[in-house]
Symmetry: C2
Subunit: 262 residues, 2 copies
C-alpha cells in the first residue's frame, strides 16, 4: 500500500490540509505530520536553536479514521525531517503539502513554508507536491474552499505521481484559482514578480521603529501566457515543475569571464 | 559613489560580517542592516505575525568609521526588505550577505539565511552575492577566519560586479575553504547532497518527544569535478551562479504528459 506524508504551513487545524487529507486518504496509508499552529512565511527555515517536539493526536474529528496525525512544534521543513527520521515506517511514496490558504505562485515560492516542505521532500527523493489556493486579500479559505471537482483532480494526479514518480530533483508547485468548477491543469513557469511597499508602521507605546510586513505584489509579466499567474488569471490550476537545483546553468560562461582575471 | 548593502544571518556582532564590511568599505557608501542576533537556518523566512523593529548603532568599534549600522529584530530577508523600503536612500548597487560562519554549498543553499537575503536582493534586481566559509564541525570562524588574500579577492570581485552587474534573476553563492592563501575562484554548480540522521534526542524533564536538529551531510557526487564541494575540496573558492527562477524548464514536456489525461 502506498505511504503518503502530508504537511503544510498553516498547521494541522487548517481547513486546507484537512480537505487534502480527505481527498487522498483512500490512496494509501496516510501520515499527517504538520505544525501545531500557523507557520506562514517559514520558507525552508529549520529550527536550529531549540529542540523540536511532537505529539500524536488520536481520533481527530476533522480527519478520516485511520490517518496517523502528529502535531509538531517546528517549521514545515522540521515536520518533514522528523517524519522521515523518526515517525514514518519507511520513505513515503508521495509527499503533499497544503492546501495552503493563499497562493504560492511566482516569487512567493521562496517565502512559502508550504513549498519549503516540498523542497525538503524533493531533497529526500520523495515525489513531492505543493498545493495552494490563490485567494484575494480578505478572502478566507473557509469561505472559498478548493471545489470538489478540483479535489477529484488532485486525487487523480496523486495516483499518477505515486505510480510514475517525478524526475530527480523536480517537485511540483500547484496553485488553484477560486472557482466552483475545475477548468483543468496548465503546466507553466514561475512568473517574474515583485513585492513593494512591504512595511506598515506599527503604532506602539515604546517609540520603536516597528513595522508590520505587508506589501503589494506586482506581476512583472502581465502579458505572458505561459506563467503560473497567467494560468490562474485564465481560471486554470497552474503546475510549475520546480527544481531544487538552483544553479543558473545558462550563465556559466558569462560568470567565468567575471572571475577570469584571477 | 556606489551604494552597498551588507547583511548576514549570524547577526551584526559576528566576525564574518565585520571582516566583510572592512573589506569593501572603501568601495562606496556602506549600509549594514543585519539581524540583532543569530538567525542560522532562517532561509527566506519572513516575519509575518509580529512587527519587526530596528535601531541604528553609532560608532561601533568593530565597524569602519562612516559605515551606517542598523540592527534588526527580524530575519535576513526582513533586513533586506526593511533596508530597501525604509532605510536606504536608493536601490543599492550591490548586496553582500555573510561572511557566514559555516558553508552554504550544495542543498544548504535552501536552508541558508545568508542566501535568503541574497535571493531577496536578486528579486529586487540588486546584484547580490552570498559569502560563506566552509568550516568543519567544531571549527569556529574566529579561529579560522577568511584569510587576507581571499578578502582582497572579494574586494576585487565586488568592484567588477558593481561595474558590470549580474544577469537578471541571477545571484552568486560563494563558499571559501579554510586556507591561509587564496588559490582562486572556480565557477561551479550546486552539488547534489543529502542530510541524514538529523535528530538527536533532547533529554528533558517533561517526557516530551523532543529533538535537536543535527545531522550528517553526504555529498552524493563525490567523484564530480564541477560542483561547489569539489571546488572546496580542491582548495578553491566556489562560485555557483544561482537563479531565483526555480522552474525546471527541462521537464515541461514530461510533466505535460502527466496531466494530459485531463
Amino acid at each position: 500500500m502506498p505511504l503518503i506524508l502530508i504537511t503544510n504551513d498553516d498547521g494541522y487545524q487548517a481547513a486546507g490540509i484537512q480537505a487534502l487529507t480527505r481527498a487522498v486518504a483512500s490512496l494509501g496509508e496516510v501520515y499527517v505530520v504538520a505544525p501545531d499552529g500557523p507557520r506562514s512565511g517559514a520558507a525552508c527555515a529549520i529550527t536550529a536553536t531549540v529542540p523540536v517536539t511532537y505529539r500524536e493526536i488520536h481520533a481527530h474529528p476533522d480527519y478520516p479514521a485511520g490517518v496517523h496525525l502528529f502535531a509538531c512544534s517546528g517549521t514545515p521543513v522540521d515536520c518533514v525531517k522528523l517524519a522521515w527520521d523518526n515517525i514514518l515506517p519507511r520513505t513515503p511514496d508521495l509527499l503533499l503539502s497544503g492546501i495552503n490558504h493563499g497562493d504560492n505562485a511566482s516569487i512567493s515560492v521562496h517565502y512559502s513554508g508550504t513549498m519549503g516542505a516540498v523542497f525538503e521532500g524533493c531533497m529526500k527523493d520523495i515525489p513531492s507536491i505543493g498545493l495552494s489556493l490563490y485567494l484575494q486579500r480578505g478572502q478566507r479559505y473557509e469561505d472559498h474552499p478548493v471545489c470538489t471537482a478540483a479535489l477529484d483532480a488532485i486525487t487523480k494526479l496523486c495516483q499518477r505521481v505515486i505510480a510514475e514518480g517525478l524526475p530527480q530533483d523536480v517537485c511540483l508547485n500547484i496553485n488553484f484559482p477560486v472557482a466552483n468548477s475545475f477548468r483543468g491543469w496548465q503546466v507553466c513557469r514561475q512568473a517574474r514578480g515583485r513585492w513593494t511597499a512591504e512595511w506598515a508602521t506599527a503604532t506602539n507605546p515604546h517609540g520603536l521603529n516597528a513595522y508590520w510586513l505587508t506589501g503589494k505584489f506586482t506581476d512583472l509579466e502581465p502579458e505572458a501566457t505561459d506563467t503560473d499567474f497567467s494560468a490562474l488569471r485564465a481560471g486554470y490550476a497552474s503546475i510549475v515543475p520546480t527544481t531544487i537545483d538552483m544553479t543558473a546553468h545558462r550563465f556559466f560562461e558569462e560568470l567565468s569571464s567575471l572571475v577570469i582575471s584571477h
